[in-house]
Amino acid sequence: MADTMELRDIEVWDGNMAAAQALRQAQVDVVAAYPITPSTPIVEGYATFKANGYVDGEFVMVESEHAAMSGCIGAAAAGGRVATATSSQGFALMVETLYSASGMRLPIILNVVNRAIGAPLNVNGDHSDMYMGRDSGWIQLDAYNPQHAYDLNFIAFKVAEDHDVRLPAMVHQDGFMTSHTAQGVCTLSDEVAYNFVGEFQPMNDMLDLDHPVTHGVQTEEDWHFEHKARQQHALMTAVMPKIEAAFAEFEALTGRKYNVVETYQMDDAQTAVICMGTSVETAMEVVDELRAQGIKAGVVGIRVFRPWPLEQLAEILKNVKAIGTLDRSSPHGTVGTLYNEIAGSLFNTGVKAVLNNYIYGLGGRDLTKAHLVGIYQDLQANAESGTLTTPLQQYIGLRGPKLSFF
């Protein structure tokens, strides 16, 4: 039996410690991991818990991120709770196996501490790795601060391991801005946390020696499409209701309320910024200041990135006149991902909002309140004229002459 750890009601944790503690409290059976900045402290923290008797599962320190996810897949197929953490280059190295994990319907939890992807090499936070995971068939939840990083891990286990879901899930947090920034985190006791997540219920487990199973088969044009369709069906129909139910249960337990799409001052908003990660809270502060000046601005934060909350967004945005989509990843040849996703969400709804796109914060560049004030000014002008008054895509916080496209 692993020792329980006495926690204060509020601990001062950074996002990495919050995630490591959540993995400990979920009593993960196998963690196979490889270190990379800025997610390394999750792995180190977990190793320290293990070394001090707070973890009785296996901790396998492998030789690469590809091996980390491969080991997680083998362990999950064997039948138990599995989790790991990574960032950036490590995430990129894992990509092949991410598709294997989801295609094999294995509920693995991956903490992704978001970081830029080289070249040029960069250790700081942006959303390039998170966006790279978009099509991999994983559930993607986004934390904006250490508290979220802690709470969303419990939600992730509960949803991913549900037998109606059986899909892997990523919990994202911003490199350094969340992962290395200590804040007060309201804790759950070990017992309460574990009970919320629940006992792992195996399914098609290789270690059930009386019922041998074959995992990871070959399918060609005869069955591949049906398999992928079934996976999409689970992701599209089973996941959102389970997430909403888990959020509700978590709120009843802790008083902390999460939503598939987070909104701030959106009831009567004429302009809205849509973003992810730490930027959501910065935008909220700016909205407070704008509201004090009588400007009807709001913020939309994506909490569930995959599956994409298309209908919820269409509803939330139906009365907004101008929307700025903020992408912390270089789109390399097109509009930003959030621009595309929001445009797709609104296209058939009759909403006539003016939509534009900001690329910001690459490689950990700060997004300042002044940047956001400028963005809301653009949006206000767009809202008033009912048309784009700026280029469609603008780079924010970039040195040198202004850069914009479309």
Partner: protein
Amino acid sequence: MSEIKKIKNLKEFSTSADRFEGANLLCPGCAHSIIVREVLNATNDDLILSASTGCLEVCTAVYPYTSWDASWIHIGFENGSTAVAGAEAMYKALKTKGRLKQPDRVPKFVAFGGDGATYDIGFQWISGCFERGHNMMYVCLDNEVYANTGGQRSSSTPIGSSATTSPAGRVSYGEKQNKKDMLAIMAAHGAPYVAQVAPNKWKDMVAKIQKGFAAEGPVYINAMSACTTEWKFAPEDTIAISDLATDSLVFPLYEIINGSELNITYRPKNIVPVRDYLGAQGRFKHLFTKQYEYLLDEWQTRVDAKWVQLQRREEARV
């Protein structure tokens, strides 16, 4: 410790508990299937298996069918070793936590991979598994070529072999590099047991598999696997070609215990010339010209030197 299965004769062996079905898509005469059956039949214990992408995998688990009557997993080309290592870690975790469904049964963990999966793309993963000391057996089905994808070279492809990415042509005799010594590399990991086996020497093979299963820690088995399609010989000649391989000492049979103690386990009564082995296969056909006479001599010299080296190692007991 589970009991070692006793096997009296080939007839009994070939009909004992069958967890790898004859219903598979491997070519008629494919040695992979013979090796897999011999490995699986060497034990009555429960098995948790993996395969890397390659002929064995694509021919035995085509949805909605499976040839495996034991738990089996495939992830990709490079990570069959780590797939089983992950399962082994889960076994340990559930044992510690008292959650095994059949706590009295101790399964064996076995990964199968081709030479491409082993010598090339999966090398790092295997090295990692061995360094960490997982309780598992890794069996390389060594047919010296990427057979599944149509016969491209691997770092196990021997000199002079014509592979599709190292083809023999007007100005080339085919593969230029010598085969990598995977057994030495795996022994250097300090593995408790490393051995080369061949399906035609089934008693030797079963003895080694059983030794491997009895060892604590990671075990590496290099299994010579004659490939009718890529080596280019008639499907009914698999065992005859395999006999030539072991009797010419191109594939010497030996074991290395704890990274040092080397034992030769088969000494042919009549050593056949390497030429006889090479000449029986289409992949070496182009070497039998005046121009490449010297390569055939070099082949013999290399095989002789290796045999001398193995005997010296055996005598030295280090």
